[in-house]
């Protein structure tokens, strides 16, 4: 497959609704490359998303998608995978959507380990609703709601890496889209991972986040190197707490865990997706008889 196979913008009569210079454009480009290099067919890929600027991503790709409600991309993704394990399912949304409104699904989907991939665009702000704090906003960040006279953001920033590690996610990684090659690499790893994969992607919002800019991310991140063992959960946790400079790369990975679909008896002897199956009326007849 070629990246162009995932290009839809030539065929539709709308343009991309992101601001010029937004990190989302790069994520789109890199994702198209990653999908192509993994040799996935658009028809096999389903993307789910919520609402927000990041959540518009599936609209700009030639794939199947269910662009649902704010915060609800993960229940959709889990169910789609469970109804048809042959599909490659990617949930993609913003930090507000995935970690704020969707926080409970985020936590509990990890505990189920479905074989799906999560791309969370972390711009540390609510873009689409015009610049309020998101759960990942840094302390003291000032917005129209978290006003300067009240000290800006006072909540402790939500730490998706630490949370994912503590909730048994089997692949936990972070990218910065300023580095396209490494980001592509991480996307491919995440999609290829068997089980729940989280890739948190630092994505500068050029309009509403004047604090965490391309330059800021560049300056305040570094890559984990070989000295970090991604099978060591406690070490991964330690890395997730670093704030001086934020680590990038694979924090934690444990590909050996059974997935949600595998643990359902539905696919034990019969691999067909649900839509190909019929009701067994003989068995139903027996069930009715058993109630006599």
């Amino acid at each position: 497959m070629k990246p162009e196979d995932f290009e839809i913008m030539d065929d539709v009569d709308y343009d991309i609704a992101w601001c010029p210079g937004c990190g989302n454009f790069r994520i789109r480009k890199v994702l198209m490359q990653a999908l192509a290099e993994l040799d996935l067919k658009p028809q096999e890929v389903v993307m789910t998303s919520g609402i927000g600027q990041a959540a518009k991503m599936p609209q700009y790709l030639r794939v199947n998608f269910f662009n649902g409600l704010h915060g609800r991309s993960l229940p959709l993704a889990l169910a789609i995978k469970a109804a048809n394990p042959e599909l490659t399912v990617i949930a993609e949304s913003g930090d507000g959507c995935m970690y704020g409104e969707g926080g409970n699904h985020f936590v509990h989907t990890m505990l189920r380990n479905p074989n799906i991939t999560v791309f969370a665009h972390n711009n540390m702000v609510y873009g689409l609703t015009k610049g309020q704090a998101s759960p990942t906003s840094r302390e003291d960040f000032e917005t129209p709601v978290q006003t300067a006279d009240r000290g800006g953001v006072t909540n402790t920033p939500f730490n998706p890496m630490a949370l994912a590690i503590s909730m048994g996610a089997t692949f936990v990684a972070r990218a910065f889209i300023g580095d396209e090659d490494k980001s592509k690499d991480l996307m491919k790893k995440a999609i290829s991972h068997r089980g729940f994969a989280l890739l948190d992607i630092f994505q500068p919002c050029v309009t509403y986040n004047k604090l965490n800019t391309f330059g800021w991310f560049k300056k305040n991140t570094y890559y984990l190197d070989e000295s970090h063992d991604p099978s060591d959960k406690i070490a991964a946790f330690g890395k997730s707490l670093e704030t001086e400079k934020l680590p990038l790369g694979v924090f934690y990975s444990d590909p050996g865990q059974p997935t949600f679909e595998e643990e359902s008896t539905v696919y034990r002897d019969d691999k067909r997706p649900l839509f190909q199956r019929d009701v067994d009326f003989d068995r139903l007849g027996n069930l009715l008889q058993s109630k006599i």
Binding site: P58, G68, V107, T265, V279
Partner: protein, 571 residues
Amino acid sequence: MDEVSIVLAGAAGQGIETVADFMATVLKNAGYHVFATREFMSRIRGGTNSLQLRVSTETRAAYRRRTDIMIPLSETAIPHLEKHSRLSDDTLVIGEDELVGARAKKNPERTAVIRFTEIAKEVGGKIYSNTVAAGAILALFDVEDETVSEYLTGRFGSKGEKVVEQNKEAYHRGVEEGKRIRSDFFALDMKPDSKITGEMLISGTDSVAMGAIAGGCNFIASYPMSPSTGVLVFLSQQATEFGIVVDQAEDEISAMNKGLGAWYAGARAMVTTSGGGFALMSEGLSLAGITETPMVIHLAQRPGPATGLPTRTEQGDLLHVIRTAHGDFPRIVLTPGTLEDGFLLTQKAFNLADKYQVPVFVLTDQYFVDSSSNTPVFDLGGIEVERYIVRTETEYQRYRLTDSGISPRGIPGHGEGLVCVDSDEHDEDGHITEDLHVRVDMVQKRVMKKMRAIREDFIMPELVGPEDYSTLVVTWGSNYHVVREVLEKIDDSGISMLHFKQTYPLSEAVLEYLERADCVVSIENNATGQFTKILQDELGFTISSDDMLLKYNGLPFAVEEIEEFLSNYGR
């Protein structure tokens, strides 16, 4: 006498369910109509619960206030029934000395002391006292020993020979006591009907769950909530047998969105919940509306608002399901009144959801799901799983504008096309749009055209009673049997019942029934007459509040209440 109403009352955990199951099964197998209904507190042990078992020679599948025989199992049992006027001087109360002794003094004619526990101990242990009690009651009917033996072997076989034998012994000791009662107090002369022997004995929960399986349900995501959990449990237990993906979701929002994801990917999904859980699904319902994703929602009502009375019954969520969620979009509400309705309507819910790509509710209540009775084995002959999924072509458009308003539904991975589904307003491709002309087309397709088609497919209400009625009683959902029973008793009254199995949307065809009556009255188990509001909304037909019988104390209607109310009507 052609029926007898037996009430067991005591604390949660005292085994009421076990005795009742024993008696009901054996009596049904012996050829009697049986109906069991429960009222219980929101607790796991203790408190005071009761179970009414009606045994009859005609279908008597409704709660009645009158109690013919009562067996108290705790000290609070008698006061509990008295509080709700369910005990009279005529009631035969049977029980241990400590519990009925006082009454025996006041009313020796209608009180029988039986030392269940002592007898049980003689047989092998206190644990058998419930079996003794069951024997005492069963002795009043024509029950063959073999029927009982079979039941006890089936039920206790796995616990070993000895337990089975001691149960049998306990039963026989109970029967002996029962014979005494039969001669001293109570001569029943009810002929069993062998046809009933071959019927099923199931609950409302069972009927809905089996209807779901018959509808092709292969995905259930839900969060436990009384009284709807039974359906989740039933399907979990049949999951391996019927290939059903089960997910106990982290919350109801998740359950609903999972259901939608599953339908999108080609499954036939349902959620089961109650009013409070469903309140959390409103936004997801709206998502089903704009994405035109099918969905089946079983909602078992209980009294609200909020937590309300979690183990009681009410029909208080009708307006909620019809009107909740932002924006205009169609939905269908089915309201079973009988076990057969429970099965057939739930089955049909899946077909309707798939056909019209809308959410379909199966709206029951605690009284319906937690009551059980005999019913003929459902006929699978006419049942079909109607599927409307298409294989997509390259040029596939999920929201193609059609005359019928229905766009052929593709699913991802089945064909060459892409299936794009969007919670924003979208164009035919399923992509986000801000073209306000397209918006208008989509509203007309999604709301007006589909609504018209759905109305044409309306499930007509069932008319019970003569065609030439003067008074028409409007009911819906679980009030079917209680009204039917009263109408059967007061024949030639000029009163008939119109029972709505589909409460939304309505068809104008119904007006013909309503307008033909001199007087239309309605009976609803809620505080404000919710369905009469819908009648007014949808058909402009008004029922005056003087002609409504409303009840909202958490209990179902009793036969007596309907009798009294209807005595004011008819010729």
